[in-house]
Amino acid sequence: MGPTDVVEDYEPNFEAWIDQFNDWQKRIGFDPAWLGDYRFEIKFDWDIAGDTIEFGDFEGMPKWNRRMQVPQQSIRDAIISMVSVQGDTEFASVEQQWHLLDSAPTEYDRKSAMRIMCEEQRHGWQMAYVLCNYFGEHGIREAQKLIERNSGGNPQREEGEAQRLLGSFNEPIDHWLDFFMFTHFIDRDGKFQLKMLSTSSFKPLAASMGPMLKEESFHLGTGANGIRRIVKQGVIPCALLQRYINKWTSTGLDLFGVDESTSAQWAYVYGIKGRYDEREVDTPAVREHLNEESRMHYFEELKLEMERINKSRHEGEPELYIPSDKFHRGIGKFAGVHHTTHGEPFEGSDEEWQEYLRGMLPSDEDEATLKELFKQEWIQYREWKE
């Protein structure tokens, strides 16, 4: 099969997918008119993708440009799975966030959120393109699934629709505090995933990551700066903010997956997903603990970011902190084990633990308090809107 055949065979399928994508936008509540002049483009950075497999058992061999060059079906399946999960999260975040546009605190925030949603859709579009154009019928089916599911956090969701693949992408993002937390904590996880795929042995996947990472940096900046502006304004008490930080930190940490993950190990063996700093380190990977290592890099980055955010604190407000990686975990060796936000074992009954959690995580009362605070100038530069 020559390259021309591939294009002729699969190009129309991506075009058919685009029609389905247009329907998806309407179905989930995203008005296509909001895109304005924005056009979805397929972007590859082939230079940065590299020509030679950089790690794993195929290290030193040429990177795979096409499906048929991938030596085993299990590797093809693993690539499809990674691309599908990545694409799933991109569309999910739009489903979770589109309804916030009307309540943006400033016009710039609205534009930033819109830009983030456009770019997340472009990332999903890119992943669908890779699936449709490189993985035949299997890829096309997976690309369709990307726009068949609907986030459990989408207020416009029909009963019976399949949920998104990862838990935090089915959580509601009810207000702008959650939006900034999501872009700071969860998009940061996204940055880690993209960077780990940027050295992939499957070249079209690696080449997709550079342009996506460029766009992701603005999303993270929006989240971090939004939280900083809230802290600077001093209307929402730091004690209340801390509970949201506790919630989103544990959610973000869980997204890195299980400890001693065999699928992460296989992905490394296949060369399809590397370490976060794969090109910067020359030490061999500890293949049994790949998820743990990425998670720790993420955790350290969160702590550094929080130091920056703390500089905007009003006098007398308690210092904000990133809770221990043992606190409130749903995945990994600390899942179900009771630890305080400072990482100490919690000593007490299950009832006492639930009581402790109520004090450490956002409650219905906090949500009600926030609703009232949002009527004030709760964030720096807010335009006053009656």
């Binding site: 016009e107 925030d109 930033s112 550079g210 460029k214 603005f218 900046g221 971090a224 700066n225």
Partner: protein
């Protein structure tokens, strides 16, 4: 990518610049002269419907002389700000002489209202020239020159590696424009 082909950019020549974009951006954007807090405030304080007071805020930040525009010229510029769509610059030609002749000021208004247009800055222009992108000085109000200037910055954004992109909520055009200004000044040393 049309501009890329036309300009026949030497990507090797860009690498030393790309290697230092974050540091160069910080040197310019976070300098006292650039008043980064004032810049940030403008991103949030300018919104529709635009007012003369908003334009005054931009003038103060950019340290421009006070505008001596008649009311109708100001109205014309406001309408222009609503109408223009990135990356068009030819609409500038439709403005009356008084407004059109002050392109640095117009570029600042465009930047803070649209966020996609880059602020015209002589150091930035020199920075582009150092990279082999010859943008002439702005001796006359020439929308084509400004068009080439913003297209070149867009082009650099397009081909820069992701390591250039800071986690910052400033528009990406500002990231590159500010880094280029530092780069241009270094060329003077």
């Amino acid at each position: 990518m049309r501009a890329y082909a036309l300009l026949n950019i030497d990507k090797g020549r860009l690498q030393p610049f790309f290697d230092r974009v974050p540091e160069l951006f910080h040197a310019h954007h976070h300098s006292e002269a650039q008043d980064p807090k004032g810049y940030e405030e403008l991103l949030y304080r300018l919104y529709r419907p635009y007012t003369g007071a908003m334009l005054d805020m931009v003038d103060r930040w950019a340290v421009f002389d006070e505008r001596d525009w008649r009311e109708d010229v100001q109205l014309e510029v406001m309408l222009f700000l609503y109408a223009i769509r990135y990356p068009d610059t030819l609409l500038i030609e439709s403005l009356s002489d008084k407004a059109r002749s002050d392109l640095p000021r117009l570029s600042s208004y465009l930047h803070f209202t649209k966020h996609t247009y880059a602020i015209w800055d002589e150091d930035t222009r020199k920075g582009l020239c150092r990279l082999g992108i010859e943008i002439p000085p702005l001796d006359s109000a020439e929308p084509y020159i400004y068009g080439a200037y913003i297209s070149s910055i867009e082009l650099l954004k397009d081909i820069a590696p992701f390591t250039c992109f800071l986690e910052h909520d400033v528009p990406r055009q500002r990231l590159f424009q500010a880094a280029l200004a530092s780069w241009g000044r270094e060329g003077d040393d």
